[in-house]
């Protein structure tokens, strides 16, 4: 079970990112739990400076802008 955290204050791009993570996971047949982190303090503590950011099992893989679909799949399957 993979835990994916999506960091962002809840703007549209963050919603889209969370949706993309779910889609990529479904495509790979992975079971993931997507958690949205919207509190600015927690976002900052995680070291994310530009949102949306993504961490997979506690490891930050992306920050700033929508992720690339192909890369997202690589991160998830790594």
């Amino acid at each position: 079970m993979t835990t994916v955290k999506v960091y962002g204050p809840g703007c549209k791009r963050c919603e889209t990112t969370a949706e993309m993570v779910r889609e990529a996971a479904a495509k790979l047949g992975l079971e993931v739990e997507v958690e949205k982190v919207t509190d600015p303090k927690s976002i900052a503590m995680a070291g994310v400076m530009s949102t949306p950011g993504i961490s997979i099992d506690g490891k930050l893989v992306h920050a700033g802008g929508l992720p690339d679909k192909a890369k997202l799949e690589t991160w998830l399957s790594a």
């Binding site: 503590m45 920050a63 690339d68």
Partner: protein, 353 residues
Amino acid sequence: MSTIQTHPSHPVRPDWLWHLGVAAFVVCWWLIYHRLQPLADWLTAQLPVERHSHTGEAIAFFLYDVPKVMMLLTLIVFAMGVVRSFFSPEKTRALLSGKREGVGNVLSAGLGILTPFCSCSAVPLFIGFVSAGVPLGVTFSFLIAAPMVNEVALVLLFGLVGWQVAATYLAFGLGIAVVAGFVIGKLNLEGWLQDWVRDIHSGAGAVDMPEGERLTMVDRYRLGIQAVKEIFGKVWVWILLGIAMGALIHGYVPEDLMVRIMGADAWWSVPAAVVMGIPMYTNAAGVIPIVEALLGKGAALGTVLAFMMSVIALSLPEMIILKQVLTYRLIAVFIGVVGSGILAVGFLFNLIF
């Protein structure tokens, strides 16, 4: 994490095809752009209205300005998207951390234009900067310049009002960001941050981001295209509304009305413009077509620029976001310092022009 990876979701095209495509796009763009005025005149002539009537003037204005602005935006936003792919908040932070005030403020305001930035990540960015040892005043220079001097504002000013005004806006926007940040830095207000921000500041350092993989030129083109899609999705309604509004003012509002309300002789018009701008929250796209029309009807340049800067740089929703990291006292100082800068620019312009 493997780095050698093709992009299965993108059809694979050779690089030269991309370069060729971009070059062809620029050439076509150029050819069409220079034929917009005759095209708009021809279209207006097809309509059953008198060209020199109020309605005719308004329609011709609308038909010329909409495609012109859309085309300028496409080109510049794409170019900026490509340029910005060379920058990132992480790199900018590394450049700014430990920089002395003064030099740091100038560098910070400049990087504010080039670094990709979305106002929804203002708070994490603020904390990221401050916790990595970027001085408070330098951070503010960045946060003021980033939204105020953006490519959408500059494109619209250039396209609708003229390059002189766009250049002055760029210079004074940067100037305000540098000076306001410098002043805030000199006031030593670190103690006025919210407590938890100070804790991060003194304690845990910033977490390092994974090394960004190297982007190819084609990746950068893609980022440019993504930027165009994103900006257009956000601003097209505002541009249409703004230009429609501008067209109405252009066609119907009598000339002397604006001279009286927003002319250079009414000294109170500059502060009034700044105060009116604070609760208004639209992006540059919505406000500039109105600016053009107001200028055309005799409103003073300084007053109009002050209004525009206030709308973009001092917005209430942004204050509410910043409240999470700043105390009210610090927000008040921020509004006071930036507001004074805008006032000064407004008065100065009315005096000079």
